[in-house]
Symmetry: C2
Subunit: 173 residues, 2 copies
DNA sequence: CCATAATGATTACAAAATGGAACGATTGTC
DNA sequence: GACAATCGTTCCATTTTGTAATCATTATGG
């Protein structure tokens, strides 16, 4: 009975519009809806690799640009530096990342992926590809390209850094 | 210096691809990125109306189908019933919603918008329209329609209920 | 070159958010 | 009429969250 209410609600919404033309809201709402839905699916998928979305984000970040400082990485992942420490600790204990002292500035740690971390990153990429497939299975290859083009232009216009997920942190007031 | 690291990172990413063709990830990543970004912008926008995204969701829900029970609404908003109570309390104290006893089944409350709540919902719709404009300002009207069509079909294919935001609740394990 | 400010990593801690369990009131079922 | 189920509610333990303080190191600038 729990999820039934949603189905009921969906039926209500559809009943007052022609099939195939029902209003699903504007692009912004669809973006938020599909983004959140996709994030859920992806989180479930990588849970099989024993990874959270934030952990996956760090691995991907380190895969592209190794040797970053904890502060930089914490900023990009949208978490305070204080929380990054135990966060990185866990991955270090699992032997996925490595803290190396920066010789020129001994305040910083340079984070690197271990071989084991690289292997897991490869698994992660596979999961990402499968996820892309799952999300876009309703589109033709041409439509898929079109969508990526439109979204990419929106992302650029919004000045979003490529590959950097803003996170779903709440707005403090 | 805080946000500079992101700019730096963006520059790094773009430097290894032709301008205008830089990889911003697949559609799924762009969806999550733009969805989260848009959610942030929208949250900031409605903060001026003293509303959180969840509160806005409840008002919109009640605007479309008044008289729902708390349990139903809690389910759709993705929160346990126990948290819905103080959540609804706040909106009731502000005079935006009303709890009416259901005469046929006195276990349920039927939630309704007050006149004040209806007024705020109108403001909310304006904010939503402005938000849509802000997010899609880089697209032509034709592209805008195209995008809504593609996203709408994806949402349907993923069996997402129209107008129901899955929320950003984390996955428990 | 030394005093002082600034920065990175870390720890400590308080505030807030979260979901489950239990409870009373009411309704459906047999 | 006994019993299970449901709704709204309260209570509470756990987790999550961000800020402030701390220590080591590096930059600044007179």
């Amino acid at each position: 009975m729990e999820r039934l209410s949603i189905v009921y609600h969906a039926a209500m919404s559809m009943s007052r519009a022609h099939e195939g033309t029902e209003s699903r809201g504007g692009a912004a709402f669809l973006l938020a809806q599909l983004g959140a839905h996709g994030a859920q699916l992806f989180a479930q998928r990588i849970a099989e690799l024993d990874l959270t979305p934030a952990q996956a984000g760090l691995l991907r970040l380190l895969g592209r640009s190794p040797g970053r400082s904890q502060r930089e990485l914490a900023d990009q992942l949208g978490m305070p530096a204080s929380r990054f420490v135990p966060f990185a600790d866990k991955l270090e204990e699992r032997g996925l990342i490595e803290r190396r002292r920066n010789t020129s500035d001994r305040r910083l740690y340079a984070l690197h992926l271990t071989d084991k971390g690289l292997e897991l990153l490869a698994e992660l990429r596979k999961a990402g590809a499968a996820h892309e497939q799952e999300m876009c299975q309703g589109l033709t290859p041409e439509e898929h390209r079109q969508l990526i083009d439109l979204l990419g232009r929106m992302a650029r216009q919004q000045q979003l850094a490529p590959g950097v997920h803003p996170g779903y942190r709440s707005i403090r007031r």
